[in-house]
Homo-oligomer: 185 residues x 2
Amino acid sequence: MPRLTDARKELRRAQITEAAVRCFSRNGLERTSIADITAESGLSTGSIYAHYRNKADLVQASAHAVLAKRAEALGAYARSDTPPDPDELLARLIAGIDPVEARVGVQTWGEATNNPAIHDIVVATIDGMRAMVHDSVTAWLVKVEHVEPAEAAERADPIAHRVQSLYLAHLLYTALQSPAEETAS
Amino acid sequence: MPRLTDARKELRRAQITEAAVRCFSRNGLERTSIADITAESGLSTGSIYAHYRNKADLVQASAHAVLAKRAEALGAYARSDTPPDPDELLARLIAGIDPVEARVGVQTWGEATNNPAIHDIVVATIDGMRAMVHDSVTAWLVKVEHVEPAEAAERADPIAHRVQSLYLAHLLYTALQSPAEETAS
DNA sequence: CTGCAAAAAGAATCGCGGTTCTGCTTGTGG
DNA sequence: CCACAAGCAGAACCGCGATTCTTTTTGCAG
């Protein structure tokens, strides 16, 4: 089968989504044309369509990449031996925010309000994140505060909700700062 | 000057933005065509362009309308004689959320990340809202908790921030529920 | 009432941007 | 090394949607 080896193919796909994310960050999901991504990635129209069925597909892949990356970083805390307390957890989450991704993230929220595919990705990511925050808080209650596991899971609920909400709001604040740097010619 | 009386003109403009908001809510800012708004409002292309320079202008006006309405409702609490405590304030804010407006609101966040005009509107609204929440919380500290005014303003800071963040997060959650009802044929 | 400029309707225009198509080029498995 | 399918480049196509133009209607001042 004389086609690209799987690894190389993944690389190309990543190259494209990364360029796409940069474009989306400055121009928005809808206002970036395929031509923009072509220019940013150094590839050509045909090449992009060889890797993604259409623009919607590419947007979806990019959104997934951004959100997954963000959620994954969080997972580490939940599994830590010495879980951070809620304030510390929030501080770390906030410290890990990247402005470019924040902008695209917020854009996906808007898109999720009427694009079913994106909606599912966003909801799944947020739910997953909540679960991980919950785990992290529960672990903290048990390991550091020495609360009974059964009670801890319950008490973690409102705390996790607060941490998640404050984090999301901060993501929004971040996205609204930094006035979308221009394209470097 | 034989043209529409000011009151009537305002009415038309409102009729248009209201139709636009409904369209935006279901189809998104960019995916809504002028034709959609034409259909929803019962007016015609020419009529819309008689009231708004272009689509960007209309989007801006609609965004402003939605956000202003939301912020204004909040003002009442800040001026109340018996200010609600923070939890109660948050509960009332959340209770006042309208799903249609929530969707458009979240869409404006995404838009604000790369549309300067919308960005300014959103930031101004959020800042204004924060100020009002702050006032409301300060009033509560002073009038109900009997804290010294000077100290109250300071202590209100983090509380206001939390209330605002939890509110914004809830707006997002609301926008992500309710799967964007279809157009009634 | 009357006239007239503005407003409304709806057709026509025009460009942009997603997708497709046509050949070259290149990587891969044998 | 070879051969050939897949990749890739870039031109061409095509439709949709914002804006504009033309014509008809309408509200307001006198």
